[in-house]
Each structure stands twice: as structure tokens, then as C-alpha cells.
Symmetry: D2
Amino acid sequence: MIVLLKPNPDKAQLDSLIKWLESKGVEIHPTVGTTQTILGLVGDTSHLDIDLISALDIVAGVRRVQEPYKNANRKFHPDDTVIKVGNTVIGGGNLTLIAGPCSVESEEQICAIAQKVKESGATLLRGGAFKPRTSPYSFQGLRDEGLKLLSVAKKLTGLPIVTEIMDIAHLDSFDDVDVIQVGARNMQNFELLKALGNTRKPILLKRGLSSTYEELLMSAEYIMAGGNNNVILCERGIRSFETYTRNTLDISAIPVLKQLSHLPVIIDPSHASGKSALVAPLACAAVAAGADGLIIEVHNDPEHALCDGPQSIRPEAFDALVKKLGRISSAVKG
Amino acid sequence: MIVLLKPNPDKAQLDSLIKWLESKGVEIHPTVGTTQTILGLVGDTSHLDIDLISALDIVAGVRRVQEPYKNANRKFHPDDTVIKVGNTVIGGGNLTLIAGPCSVESEEQICAIAQKVKESGATLLRGGAFKPRTSPYSFQGLRDEGLKLLSVAKKLTGLPIVTEIMDIAHLDSFDDVDVIQVGARNMQNFELLKALGNTRKPILLKRGLSSTYEELLMSAEYIMAGGNNNVILCERGIRSFETYTRNTLDISAIPVLKQLSHLPVIIDPSHASGKSALVAPLACAAVAAGADGLIIEVHNDPEHALCDGPQSIRPEAFDALVKKLGRISSAVKG
Amino acid sequence: MIVLLKPNPDKAQLDSLIKWLESKGVEIHPTVGTTQTILGLVGDTSHLDIDLISALDIVAGVRRVQEPYKNANRKFHPDDTVIKVGNTVIGGGNLTLIAGPCSVESEEQICAIAQKVKESGATLLRGGAFKPRTSPYSFQGLRDEGLKLLSVAKKLTGLPIVTEIMDIAHLDSFDDVDVIQVGARNMQNFELLKALGNTRKPILLKRGLSSTYEELLMSAEYIMAGGNNNVILCERGIRSFETYTRNTLDISAIPVLKQLSHLPVIIDPSHASGKSALVAPLACAAVAAGADGLIIEVHNDPEHALCDGPQSIRPEAFDALVKKLGRISSAVKG
Amino acid sequence: MIVLLKPNPDKAQLDSLIKWLESKGVEIHPTVGTTQTILGLVGDTSHLDIDLISALDIVAGVRRVQEPYKNANRKFHPDDTVIKVGNTVIGGGNLTLIAGPCSVESEEQICAIAQKVKESGATLLRGGAFKPRTSPYSFQGLRDEGLKLLSVAKKLTGLPIVTEIMDIAHLDSFDDVDVIQVGARNMQNFELLKALGNTRKPILLKRGLSSTYEELLMSAEYIMAGGNNNVILCERGIRSFETYTRNTLDISAIPVLKQLSHLPVIIDPSHASGKSALVAPLACAAVAAGADGLIIEVHNDPEHALCDGPQSIRPEAFDALVKKLGRISSAVKG
């Protein structure tokens, strides 16, 4: 960390700052220029509060040199994290396909889709029980009943379940859930992250709509600080000025997050675009860029399509897409 | 609401859509053009799920004409909402000043600041007990102990308390809190909003960092749908490409939100800028643009400034600012 | 186009509006609801000025149904535009590789790189002669001398040249340039677009840093309105809140622009990321998503790397990348 | 400037970097830590190309300490720049009001508005002759004829003229123009900026829609590097995710730009909001925040309002606003 001092800093305040920093276990290397004095801080600075230092009267600015996350940082954990879920693994060169409907609606629906996507090659089943909706008047999901139906589909197909949690109070009902999803709007719900850090369940952590890579990794760090290292990062589109797509898939997140962190990176092309016609090209791009997996919305009943999101694709389209993704994955590996 | 159909829509699907819409209680007025057919929906469309309709095969697009919020909408409630808190009111032409430290740190600190800001003209005391921090390694607030210290300061000065809640589970400890703040990162924590809708406490709802006015009003609607109409909207800066300021104060939020809604609008110039030198000019601008109040960070102890955010101002600066704001408020009213 | 009227519009103003719209050759279909009257406009509305109509006292809002661009619109030109440049074509299923240095620096440099990238499979040579730089104190390019050196490299290798124009006044010097590039910062330099519309040269039009798809297509429309249909669209990254990468590649631009328009779509992974390590994964993603080509910065002289941008890759890396892209392209086509 | 080196940098490359930097006239202060070596650069670094240094193999990152602009920097020119235009001055505590129609349409129109706004207190006349329009099919302004009509209005009222230039080639026609405006979309049209730097005309430089303060000041620096110090900065709204307003006025730009630079700062509330109802509150906010002036669209003919933008206000509204702004300006000064 580098602390830039204002010109002619008060001597007493500077001594007090240096003493305080040293008490935190960092070494200080000052550079005195004609117009600017710089303190180079060497050692573990991840526990220093950058805002507090910036607030000091004598400080002009603070620049980080090291990343503020440790457990999630590839520098300290060079090997890929591989997460075992049921009979499958996420990360480590595996291409994981998670598929299922936007919302769980009925036993028939979730079981039928589960069987279909399993046949096509999906290894995990997704489905929303608790639904975060912008409007209080929109369908909020089947909630506990939805979790039960997911368990039925899991028993039938053997597919582990991925579903979203919206509040700590619901955690007790998530016993049979294999991967707990944290939605984009809860990426900085720090109390929820802490609670999930106290479990040992794999957590699929979605990036917030306008969050940076560092903020995503700091949220992962919240979970890992509790001892739960089973974190899967998920890029699901950021908010941009473009309104044609619901969000804008940040494809660079794949190589960058994999470089900064050892955690697996999953892409959600369905929510990223909000349009079924874009799911296949975005999924192909994600695999070509090195994603560890995809989470895709698949619906089953075009006649009652009122109940599916505009970003869901049909089982036949999913089946064709899986074949294409396999070819691209091989092409990338050479 | 206007539904744009794709060219040559399937007759059976169109009939089914029209029947479904009519079953929701809306009247349909079709406009048949040579290249485009449009359905004009007349009646209360706030309960229709725009995403579901957009997903239909025969639909090219949906455009809202009416706002999707009702309780928060000025069209249906033309008069300003005025919220009584202790001996003061928020809204209705009153200029409310909320002031206090970033975090509650000790009884001496919070009581000293409370007395200072009261003398200058603040009518509510703010102070963080539960602190949402990007890093799990940063100070997370005194939590329950912080709430107790706020109560001590309230008893001493008579100032009602404003403080942030981070999880439903903490609600029981907020009995003596007068106004519960929902932070920007929790603006779409829908389960929390629902729980607060079941209380009758005034809620200070902060706008999310990249949220639109409509999304803010829909989050207010979540609270109001539970029967709690005591919602105060708070603009605290949006994320922009500018990195010189921590966030970018959206000053237009004041006249726009007051036009769209009857709820009071409060401005937070401290978090909007992240720099103490900008607090005064932004506060002046907010009052000139018609804000119902301000929430400002004030610290008291420059010698130990390590504990205050870079956006806090000193009591003397707050005192001078209050006088200036009074003059501007009079100038605006003419 | 749909015009939403305010409640109880003035009769005389409404009649005057309808008469004016009819004089522009559009048919009017009014829908009268209890709270809202809507005018459905049928016919060619691309020449109507949406701002002027919105400004009317009786108008609450205007919503477009049809795209405001015509020549660039796939609806009216279903077949892919294929642009012939020298011995190669851009568009129509071809994967075009444009490569070369950030800036032209010397005859040795540009000729050496041109030969290298040609051997690897590039079919066009890029190189900056006029350089748009944020600072007036940065190197501004060799300008006219740079154009001459590009011509030398073209003569030597037979590769057609792509280079950027920064002002109409320079157009005379661009005779030997095969594809004229318009930079992101000039995407809405309308006078320049008009001047280029009067030539018949292929134009590589880069998307502005915060422009929408529609704005990009409207800028293409400016060129095409002058009779020059040889426009190549180029996505080169948008500005986002992420600062780790210089810009954020909007990979969705590929399928969306190809759906909305018949013009070829080229991706610039070098400027999109600003980091050489990201060029390969982004290039792979672009080909997987269906791009018509890539424009990539390649430098040749690691010992004097001070003169190359941080996003340039070396000839050997380019060579390996081209092979990978070929495999992915085949995998996508199946 | 601070250069962060990668761990274990190549000795020869490091020596070559240090030698190169010293040849540019800067002193090097290295800080060698256990995991990181830092070079502190002391001296005038504004001429160093940050991109080139970042591109070096041994460099992990570069952080600026000093601003890259010099002529526009308040540090080197502590006193406010005051620009004389006709009989009035811009900057230095004066509140300048620039008013006039969106587009010049006829002699009657421009002269009538000029007289009206002069009576209300405007000291400069604005009016568009060359109009940057997103669509090639929209009205592009009266161009040279518009400039002539502005001159007629100037002769009649004595008000100096402010109007926009769109291309260097038009510069000859701008002889009688007193302040040349550079539009937001041309803020980084560097060739145009250079040409204007060679004149001695006052330049009203509008901030780009997604530009940072530093980028705006670097564009001012382009003009000033040519010897023309008569630059007026203009904030006119940035692009944000909010679609209710056309743009989002960044009110913080006023205190920040005035702190970073000595140049006058003018606010355009008309384009910032795109809505006439927001012009007054935003103008009031701008004056309260310390703006040096305002540029406001005023139209005169409500019956033919089709020709005015939705953000124009009527002369009576402008007259009332001017009175209010005077009161606020006095209140701010105390």
C-alpha cells in the first residue's frame, strides 16, 4: 500500500500515523521528494482500513498495491479450487452444465425438465423457489413448497440441486440443497454472506449488477473468512447503457477472475441477455473464453410459456447447444 | 400498457393472450396497422407481470404507460406525505437536518456529537451501529452495544435516532430506534423490505448505487404494500465513471422523485461525495433543488480522526453550514 | 411509433398535431381509454423527429416501434452485406483477420510486422498514422509520413491497409488506404461521417465508449445516407465501472448487431481489454459468438517495447491464436 | 508518478527503464520491499506516457500522483481565470447567464428571444446554427445562414454570441461569434481542439457524456497547449442508467472542477435534464453549488412549439428564474 502525504505534513501527526501503522505490523519505507512525500507500506496490508487512512488530515491519497482479498487470491493459492457436488465436480478443467426452469411450478414441470436436461448432459438442476422480484405484486415463487419439489426431482434424477436463498431465516429449509445461490442483488448482503460462511455448502455467488471484480472477490472473501472455501463465482451480466439486452455479459470476467482467483467461474447467459435468442451465442463465447461452466434456463412447455422468462430456451435447443459447446471446448483445448 | 405484436401473430395464441389479459381485469383496445398490430391495455395494469408477457412467442415488445407503483405514486396521493418522528416532522415543506457520526464508538463520543448537532439545529441523530463494510476484515460496528449507546444519547438530548438495519434477525433490537435506515446495498433485499412493511416505523430507504428512480419507488412500494406508509426516500449518490468522488450525487432525483411520488426526499451529501470538502456545496445544492432534508456525517474529535470517514465534517463546519442552508431555503421560497 | 397523450388534451392542439403527422405521410390510429389516449402511427416514421413531438404540451411520451435506421436495417435488407477489399472479402461467413502495430513507427517496423502477420493468416494490415491521444503531450503518430510507410508495406505484402482518420481535412491523403477507420471518440462526429458517406471507401466504424447499438447503427446510417454502403461495424469495448480492464468487451454486440443489421461485425479484443493477456480469450469468444472478423494489435520488437501498447501481442502469440481461432470457427459451424 | 515493478524484475530491463526515465528529466526514488519494488518518480511527469510505461514487461502498474494537465491546473495557477467577452466577464465571482433558443430558425425568432432574455438579465445569447443530431434525417440547423441571423440579433441587442462548431472547416464563418462552443460529442475531437487552440476566441468546452473530470481537463489542456487560455468548462449532464431524465446532471462537477482548475465552470440544466420542468430546480442547485454561470434554452412561441426542444422554457419562466437565482446567489455569499 502506498500513502501519499499532502505537502508539508504536520510532524506530530506524521509520527502518530507511522507509529499506528507499525503497530499494525507493517514496515514503512518513506520516499521524500521535493513536492511530495510517499510512504511505501510493506507487509500484510489486507487488514488496514483504506478509508480510515484516507480520512487523515495529512494524507492526500492511498493506493493499494496488493489485493485486499487473501483466501480468494490466486497468489496465495495457485492451484484451481475443485468443488465436489454429488457425483460431479466444478472447476479444474471440467465443463459443468447447470440447467432448469426459471421458477419451480409443479412436480410435473420440474421433474420433466430435470429428466430432459439430464439426458442432454446437464449435471446439476437449477430452479427458483424463492424469487427476487422488483415488484411486490409479481409472483414470488413457491418458496418452501418449491424446495420440496426440487427434492423430488433430485431423488428422481440424481441431479444435485442449485437454488437461490434470499434470507438467513430460510437457511434451515436448505438442507437438501446442494449448491446455494446468492443472487446479484444480495452480493453485498454481508450478514447473509457471513451466515453462509458458517456452513460448508457450496455457494454460487452471483456478481452484482454494477459490481467490480474486486467487490465480487471481497464478497467471496466474506464467505471464505468463515471457513467455507466452496465458493463458485458467477458472472451474470452487468448493467450498461444498452437497453436492447437486459444486461451486458462481461466476457472478460472469465479470464480475469481465473487469473486473480483460484475459484471456479460459471456464466449465466440467460440472465445476462434476457433474450432466448442470445443464450446460445453467449454460451459458446463463454466456453471459448475458458469458463468452468454454465447455468442456463430451460423451460418445457411452449403452450404455457406465460410462466417462463423470455430468456428460457426449450429442451431441444439446449440439447443442440450442449453438443456445440462440447465441440468448442475441444477446439479451445486444441 | 401497450403490447406490440410480432407480424402475423398466430390467431389461437392471440385469442388466448387476450382472454388471459381480460381475466386480469384489463380492457383491450387493438390497433391493426399494415405492418404492426398493437394492443392498448386500459385499466389497472400494475399487477401484470411485464416479463411474462414479453416472453410470449407472439409478442415483440411491451411498453408501460402507467407507473408500476401505486401506493408510492403521487397520481393517486396528490398530497405530500408528512411523517411525524418524536417532536419533529419530515416532509411537507419542513427542512429536516439529520446529523451524527459515521459509527457509534463510545458513550462520550455519541453524546458529545449529539449535543453539538442539536445546538446547531439538527432534529434527528444518526450513527452507525451495524456497518456494511466491503471487507470482512474492516470494523463492522459496535452492533447491539452501538444501539444501546444511541439510546443513551437520545435520552440525553431528546433527539430521535436514525440507524441502519442489516438483517431481519436484528429487528427485535430496534425497538428504541425511531427511523430505521435501509442501506443502498440492501435496497433490493426484498425479504427485509417485506419485514419492515409489517412494522409501522418510519423507514429511510436509500437508493441503490445503480438503481433507477422506478426501482427505488418499487422498493418503497414493497414496504408500503405491507401497510407501512412511513417511507422516506434518500438519494446518496450513484456509481458513475468518475473516480474522483466516491459516488455521483444525482441532484435531479429531488425534483423528479417529488413529482413522481408524495414521499419525502432526503439527501446524503456525505456518502454521495466521500469527501468532506464537498459536503457543504452539495448540501446547498440539495436545499436549492427542493430537498426535504439532509443526512450529514459529523465527527467531533480531530485528534482521533482515524475513526471517522473522509466524508465527515466537524461540528463548527456543520454549524456554519446550517446557517447557510437556512438562508438558501428562504431564498428558494422567495 | 406510439404517441401517448396527456389526460384531457386540448382539442385544437390535438387536431393540429394529427394534421401535421398526416402531412408527413403517416396514418393515425387513436385508442381512447378512460385515463389515456394513444395515437398509433402507422407507416414510415423514420423521418419523424421524436424530440419535437415529445416537446408538445399535449404529449406525455413517445415510444418507437420501428427502428429509426433504414439502410442499415436487416428488415429491409435481409442478406448479409459482403464487402470486397483487395483480394479478400469481409462478411458473408468469412473470418477476416486484421493485424498490425498500434502505431506505424518506421519502414522496417511496419514491413516486418506486415510480413509476419501475413504469414500467420492476416488478410489486412492495420497501423495507426493519426493517433487520437487523451494528452496533447503524448505521441500523436507519424501522420502523413505514417500513411506513406503503410503504402510501402502494402506494396511489399499485397495486404490492404486499414488506418484511422481524425479529420475531414486529411481525407485527400487517404487515397491509397483501403479501409478508413473511424475511432470510437469520433463515432458521433457527424460532419466526418457525412464526408465519408460521399466516398465509396469501406469504413470501419468503431462503437463509441458509451454508445448504444442504436446509436452505432444511426452513425452507420449517416454514412449510408450519403450512398456509401460499405460500412463495417466494430465493437471495441464499452466503458464500465470495472477499472481492471481498460474497457469491457460487449460480446452480445455480435449476435445483436447481426440480427438488427446486415453489416459485417468485427471485434477489437486489443483495445477492449487493454491487456495483452486477455487478447486471446476475448478473440476466441468473439469467433465463438459469430464475429465476422477481428482486428488485433501485433508488435514485433520486445526489446523496444516502450513503443507498443500494453495490449499488443507478439507475432508468435498471434500465429498460435490464428490456429486456435480456425479450430473454434469450425467447431461453431459444426 | 509511482511505478510498481513485478517481483524479481530483470536487472538489465530495470536499468534501461531507469536510464530512460532519467533522460526525461525525472528523479527516481526506489523503495525495495520484500515482495514489491516501487519506483517513486519525482519532478515534472506530465510529459510521460503512462501507457508506454505500463506496457513494459517488468512493470506491474503505474499510479499517477500528479495531475497530467498543467495549464488547466489550479496548483500552478491559483487565481481564477476571468474571461472578457464583449462588455461582460465570465468567472471571478460573476454569475453569467447565457440564454437563447435551441436552434436559430428565423430573424424574427432569434431577435425576439434575444431581446426578451436580455431584458431578464442574460448577458450572452446562445442559439444553434450547426446542430449535431443522432439521425441524418433530423433537421441539421440553418448552418451558415444561422450564423448570419445570430449576427443580426447581436447587432440589435449588443449581446455577444455563443454557438457550436462541428468541424474545423467551418471556422472561417465564426469570425463574428464571440464564444465558440464545443459539443459533448466533440470533447475528444482532438484535431478540432488543436485548431481552436490556435485561435484566441473563448471556447465553451462541454463535458462528454461519459467523460471524467480529468478527461475534460485534458481536452481543455489541448486548447491551452496551443496558447489559447480562454477556456470555459461546461457540465451538461452525464449518461447514467436513469432513463427518466435525458442525462444526469453531475452537480459535484462544480466544486471539484473549481478546486482542480482555475477555469470558469458553467452549467447547462436544459440538456442535462431534457425536461423543461427540471430546468429551474437544477439551475438553482447549480448556483447554490457555486457555478460561474448557466446556459439555458429559452423559446418564444408556444403555438409553434414543434420547433423547440422539450427542455426549453418560456421567457416568463426564464424571467422568474433569474430573480430566484439572484436571491440564491446572495444567500450563498452570505
